[in-house]
Point group: C2
Chain length 601, copies 2
């Protein structure tokens, strides 16, 4: 850890993580409206004080116990020894404390031992866990996806055998989808599932990119595997979902005989070194059908929103930690003098460094608004009082999912990269900690559907929902806030910037809704960036309005206004510039023939 010749002390606050509890609560309150969510009958056991208390307790746990594993995990990485994945040494005791404290079970169903809190609360806990250690957090995150699949589609028998163990994190779960020739195109997968006489299946095939596909933290690992039965239709309509445990269960439900799932190798990756990314080989492995045959893709889609929001959250979480890390350095590191100053100034006082930190801060808080709003919609689509509200929440979630996944991950990478820049030369040195965020963040725009796939989902499926009513309703909502703010004394600049931005997005939306599929696909990614940028400005503006309403003279609230103002002045106008790319059309994208793309001597 020591950097020879440098006076900076890396055991300083820089290496640490302070969960931003105050901003989390403010966002839960002003954006997610958690107060109205916990009014639903299923959350009778939850109240606001309980939530604040739990967040404080979680903050202590994740900053003091979980966060210190981040750099160690990166350095040590996961290894494969004799067909068994070994996690970094520091992980096992921390994992046990995590499970004991119950932080992975907060949203689990009380019927199976969970605490039954709303997801809107769970997301704040997940944010802390992910900021504290992204690579480590992926294990509970994927287990959560397995829990959702099993809860919604598993037979009573499978649920009784597996669910409480997964919710308690005594066992963990994996998502086993990708094959060498079936990445973005899941429908091309070839792993085969043959029926046995006893109702089980024999699974055969090779799967890649299996996150936490094996490890030594728990007694069992439960794989959720996509495969085809011999007579299945081609493409996505012929995919079934199977539960394949690492260890088959004995009659009493405890892990017994080893199933034939082989861990072939681990990938050598750019980042998240502590997260074992496995190549798994299934060789006549015993699997149990979840739900019905050929419905696997449909089941996957039911948990996809959740998983995509969680990856969006990863972007936010890395951004938050990189931002804290760079800010601590910028306050400590002196270099140069300010105009008129006589002694070296901390670099946070230099305008260009301040600009970088404000950019990191504004994007991070904007992402938090977007993620928390999307998750609140996920709760509301189940718990809102009326069918109309539940339907509206479902549509909102559908719209916000691709934006949340893509915008937060693209800018998570950007924020981590700005963090490297704040550190100057030290930013390129691994010991400074800045490179890890830059490396770790880079997976997030890729997995759980690349951001290009998200853009296609947004433009081809989500914009046309209800004839454009969902997107237009969202834009109306933003417009009406903009109009309100434009009439205020304190926030009229923000209102005007928002108003101009939403007009541009409206026009781009109209263009895409009316254009050919190929033109729409050519403009999809720039549009996604445009809409995300608007959404970010919207959530910051809402928070600024709430801050003014509460008490603008409270310095922390004034800082919320200052952040929204910075974003409105420097980021929202970028939207005007994006319109060109959105409307440029397929002819422009394909203006150069393939022969002249790439190496041309």
């Amino acid at each position: 850890m020591a950097v020879i010749g440098l006076t900076v002390n890396y055991s300083s606050p820089m290496a640490s993580y302070t969960p931003p509890v105050r901003d989390m609560i403010f966002t839960l309150d002003t954006i997610a409206g958690i107060g109205s969510i916990i009014e639903a009958p299923e959350f009778d056991h939850v109240d606001a004080d309980m939530i604040e208390g739990a967040l404080d307790e979680a903050a202590r746990f994740f900053s003091e116990v979980f966060a210190p594993t981040n750099e160690i995990g990166d350095e040590e990485g996961a290894t494969l020894v004799d067909g068994q994945v070994i996690t970094p040494e520091a992980f096992k005791p921390v994992w046990n404390k995590l499970v004991d404290a119950g932080w992975t079970a907060v949203t689990g169903s009380p019927e199976y031992g969970g605490h039954g809190f709303p997801k809107t609360f769970g997301i704040a806990i997940s944010e802390m866990m992910t900021s504290a250690n992204l690579a480590f957090s992926l294990n509970p995150m994927l287990t959560g996806s397995g829990i959702t699949l099993l809860t919604r589609h598993g037979s009573d028998e499978l649920r009784d055998l597996y669910l409480s163990k997964l919710i308690s994190s005594e066992w963990t779960g994996t998502m086993v989808l990708t094959e060498p020739e079936a990445g973005s195109d899941v429908g091309a997968l070839r792993t085969r599932a043959d029926r046995n006489d006893d109702g089980t299946y024999r699974i055969n095939g090779t799967k890649i990119f299996i996150t936490w596909g094996d490890h030594d933290l728990t007694d069992n690992v439960i794989h959720m595997v996509l495969a085809r039965t011999p007579d299945a239709p081609v493409g996505t309509k012929g995919i079934s979902l199977f539960l394949v445990p690492k260890y088959l269960l004995d009659a009493d439900g405890t892990p017994g005989e080893r199933n034939t799932v082989e861990i072939v190798s681990l990938e050598h990756k750019l980042g998240i070194h502590a997260s074992p990314t496995c190549v798994l080989s299934f060789e006549d492995s015993t699997g149990y059908l979840i739900g019905e045959e050929n419905q696997g893709m449909r089941y996957m889609f039911t948990m996809m929103n959740q998983a995509r929001l969680e990856v969006g959250l990863e972007g936010l979480s890395v951004a938050e930690r990189a931002y804290q890390h760079a800010s601590a350095y910028a306050k400590e590191r002196t270099q140069g003098r300010m105009m008129g100053g006589s002694k070296p100034a901390p670099i946070i006082e230099h305008p260009d460094v301040r600009r970088m930190l404000m950019t990191m801060k504004a994007y991070t808080e904007a992402m938090r608004g977007l993620v928390y709003d999307a998750v609140a919609a996920d709760d509301r689509m189940h718990c809102a009082a009326t069918q109309e509200e539940r339907d509206a929440a479902r549509d909102r979630l559908a719209l916000l999912t691709p934006i949340t996944k893509s915008w937060c991950t693209d800018h998570g990478v950007d924020v981590a990269s700005i963090g490297v820049q704040v550190f100057g030369g030290m930013g390129f040195i691994e010991d400074s900690g800045a490179p890890q965020f830059y490396r770790d963040a880079r997976i997030t725009p890729i997995y759980e559907g690349t951001n290009g796939i998200q853009a296609l989902d947004l433009v081809m499926r989500k914009l046309p929902m209800h004839g454009g009513d969902v997107i237009n309703g969202y834009l109306d909502e933003i417009d009406s806030l903009a109009a309100k703010l434009a009439d205020t004394d304190d926030l009229n600049d923000i209102g005007r910037a928002l108003s101009s931005a939403v007009a541009t997005v409206r026009e781009a939306t109209r263009f895409l809704l009316g254009s050919s599929p190929s033109d729409a696909m050519a403009g999809a990614t720039p549009y996604q960036e445009m809409l995300g940028t608007l959404a970010g400005g919207y959530y910051l503006a809402r928070q600024a309005a709430a801050a003014v309403e509460r008490a603008i003279d409270v310095p922390w609230l004034a800082a919320k206004v200052g952040t929204a103002r910075f974003y409105a002045a420097t980021v929202l106008p970028l939207i005007n510039g994006m319109a060109g790319a959105v409307t440029s059309g397929s002819d422009t994208t394909f203006a150069v023939s393939e022969e002249y793309i790439g190496a041309v001597r």
Copy 2:
């Protein structure tokens, strides 16, 4: 290298590099105007055929001999063994071939054994070397800076002893500036130089971030060291420059006794692993004054333009290789089907992937225009026929230097990141090669003056040159091309986009020239990005015009037009969006007090 379970073969064209000789020649011709440069008397021995022939020969060498060392160098890295840096095993034979072939001596002075070619030719050779292996290329690159310093400011004795050995690359050179407390603020350095009775100096101090500060490729390493004499004025005015060899020379000029320069450690870095970044300790080391005492910073400035252009070139070079790499993959990798298609399509046919590749291509070729134009100005300020032309070239170079350094490196990182994205899940796996470009590129916005420092240079020093005449002249030049193109049948869309962009930049320029220093500093980086984006569009538009003039029906030339069109439609409009950040002012940047930046519980 093998990735289990994947059918993609990594010994395929993807791992290779094809120097884009045709685009280099086209750019040298249409942008740099190399034809008029070699008319100068000092280039009497150079003609166009010779240049084309040499580029072809160099292309063979760098693709076949140099490029294959890139991945090996990254994996093996440089190591420190018993106080001596050991380079990757594959490097020594390749280095010897490089030196024998004379590719490092192309621009060197014939008086000392160089070939005396213009820098405008040298830059194309450097581009090949840097694309082929960035980490390795830094050794000759820094040697080149030492050669410039010695040529311009060294005594006859020092030049006679060292210059021909450096030009031939029998020895290499380093730049020794940074100290723990003196990074961007060079003036804070504390390394001390005491006079000896024999006219030499005793150097004492610790220096960090010394690129190629030691290695095992040559018999000697010549350090160019900044230090202070005991009675020197404070700050940058008290810095002197010393030549400090690793081995002192015997009376016959051959390396003899070891000087007391200790290699304390190597940094563990994010990228350029094969480039040893050293902490050097000077302990009563013998140094020779270059030029006069206290003139060290002035001397450094005389070579700073060159070094900054070379780092800008690094951005271009990594971008070119990442672009070729991603394009090869996108042509080979099939996934999904096109609308109406029945078999899996190569991903290059998917609109969003095509958009990514076109973005990589357009930025890369735009960067090439910018770098080559700047280097041509560097030649012209020495070799142009009239004093007026030489002065204009000097001003142009001064203006273009910060833009070239910053814009090409920022977008070099972006292009490398897009490359990762094109590879999808494979992009995160080190074996695919994509992560190396993403890691290597990240140093370039940092060193040789961070891009924030470049922005301050641009806005505070370069814009005000001659009362704004230099920047306005450059904008006029762009405007006049825009007007010309707007009147054509083929390129009017490009002309209009350029015209609108230049109007926005003009307004932003006026704002900055008329604003307070603190407002100008707050807007400096966004302005730099804006001007770079405009410059990129300008060079592509000039090439499109030249292509149309030559023969639009030649497919390769039509591709140049298509590339310019893509950039004009999707990238140039972004400039409109940047105006907000440029003019947002210092109050916005400092709207949040320091206390609320970073970790706040």
